[in-house]
């Protein structure tokens, strides 16, 4: 009986559906999903959840909210995938949605001081975590130094103006090309280059006193 089930799951080529989906590029996975293969969406989630979470988290600085926003990104993708222009890159579309949601979140936050307070509280709780949860293989002073440095870097990124930070993260963390960033942020290429140059210089200036 188990053999029969196994034979049904394994495709003719000897690969499971999941394995075949893993071997496909984004465009093919999207096509598979639109063709009725529900598992294709799980593949898209697997591919993008961590990348999007990091991108959104670095942009808004709130871990829990970042997860909520990434979930919202996937819900929107699920709802509107049939309207996605397949002549364009799927990743650019997904990052555009995530970028817009992050921008909205920052805008709402600036209007609502309570959210700012929650963020501060979250950071405070984060500092209260026991050190051994960081990395059990390192010495305590190393762990402290690493965590301190990480916090400094995160704080320095947070100090960048929003439109500089967005471009900076997309380039330095996500490795997007200038053209993709221009599409995601809906700016022209010249603006992207200018913002990126300024962001790099500002970030280096902000962090320099801590690392010199």
């Amino acid at each position: 009986m188990a053999d029969i089930v196994r034979k049904q799951v394994v495709s003719v080529e000897g690969l499971t559906v999941r394995e075949r989906l893993q071997a496909m590029d984004d465009s093919a996975v999207v096509t598979a999903f639109l063709g009725g293969e529900e598992r294709a969406f799980s593949e898209l989630v697997t591919r993008y959840q961590t990348r999007l979470l990091n991108f959104v988290y670095r942009t808004i600085g709130d871990r829990e909210k970042a997860e909520d926003l990434v979930q919202e990104v996937f819900i929107r993708v699920y709802r509107h995938l049939h309207r996605f222009d397949r002549s364009k890159k799927f990743s650019t579309w997904v990052y555009t949605i995530a970028s817009n949601l992050a921008k909205n979140e920052l805008r709402n936050r600036s209007r609502n001081p309570l959210v700012l307070f929650q963020t501060v509280q979250k950071n405070f709780q984060d500092e209260d975590r026991p050190l051994q949860f960081e990395d059990t293989t390192s010495r305590p002073d190393d762990m402290y130094r690493k965590r301190h440095l990480r916090e400094i870097v995160e704080e320095s990124v947070a100090k960048l103006p929003e439109h500089h930070r967005n471009v900076f993260i997309l380039r330095e963390l996500e490795g997007k090309s200038y053209e993709e960033i221009a599409e995601i942020t809906e700016c022209n290429l010249g603006t992207v280059k200018s913002r990126l140059n300024r962001a790099r210089n500002s970030f280096a200036e902000i962090i320099a006193p801590y690392v010199d």
Binding site: V70, V157, A204, A208
Partner: protein, 177 residues
């Protein structure tokens, strides 16, 4: 190359997208200008720190929460599709009924009122009425009406007066006509 040009080209220099000659000119300036070399090192070091930030992973319940929300979304879409289907069926039924009604009315109209109906000429005859003598209870009194004596109400005889006045025993021949 001066420092200003170096700064302008620095973005492409760090991203390694400069053409060969430009790259050589930048490297030469870097070797000659201590200030620009310091700035270049500062930026590269900062970028390295940023790129080495540890990646964060989704929490343990992330997938479960997402699955639940996707299921809700899927159900919503199904319900919406069913609603649309039901509305479509209702609209189609209504349209069919209207169409049938229209067809039935049109057919009925065609059947009841033919446009080019030709009928044979018909001669209509009115049966002759049986002659009945006018009997007045007191012709003498009626005749006296013209004399100005109002014995009976005038309206009662308004139509009959001229006839009766002419001859009290006149038989009504064509009166009914």
């Amino acid at each position: 190359m001066d420092c200003r040009e170096f700064c302008d080209q620095h973005l492409a220099f760090v991203d390694d997208t400069l053409a060969g000659i430009e790259l050589v000119r930048m490297q030469r300036h870097l070797a000659e200008c201590e200030s620009c070399a310091r700035q270049d090192a500062k930026i590269r070091r900062a970028l390295l720190l940023f790129k080495n930030l540890p990646s964060i992973e989704p929490s343990a319940d992330f997938s479960h929460r997402l699955e639940a929300r996707l299921r809700e979304c899927h159900d919503e879409q199904l319900a919406s599709a069913q609603r649309n289907l039901r509305f479509g069926a209702f609209a189609a039924t209504l349209a069919s009924l209207v169409m049938l009604g229209y067809i039935a009315t049109t057919l009925y109209d065609h059947a009841s009122v033919p446009s080019d109906l030709v009928m044979a000429p018909v001669v209509a005859t009115v049966p002759e009425a049986e002659l009945t003598p006018i009997t007045t209870p007191a012709p003498a009194i009626v005749a006296s009406v013209s004399a100005g004596l109002t014995i009976w109400p005038a309206a009662l005889f308004a139509e009959q007066v001229p006839v009766r006045f002419a001859h009290s025993k006149l038989e009504l021949a064509n009166y009914t006509r």
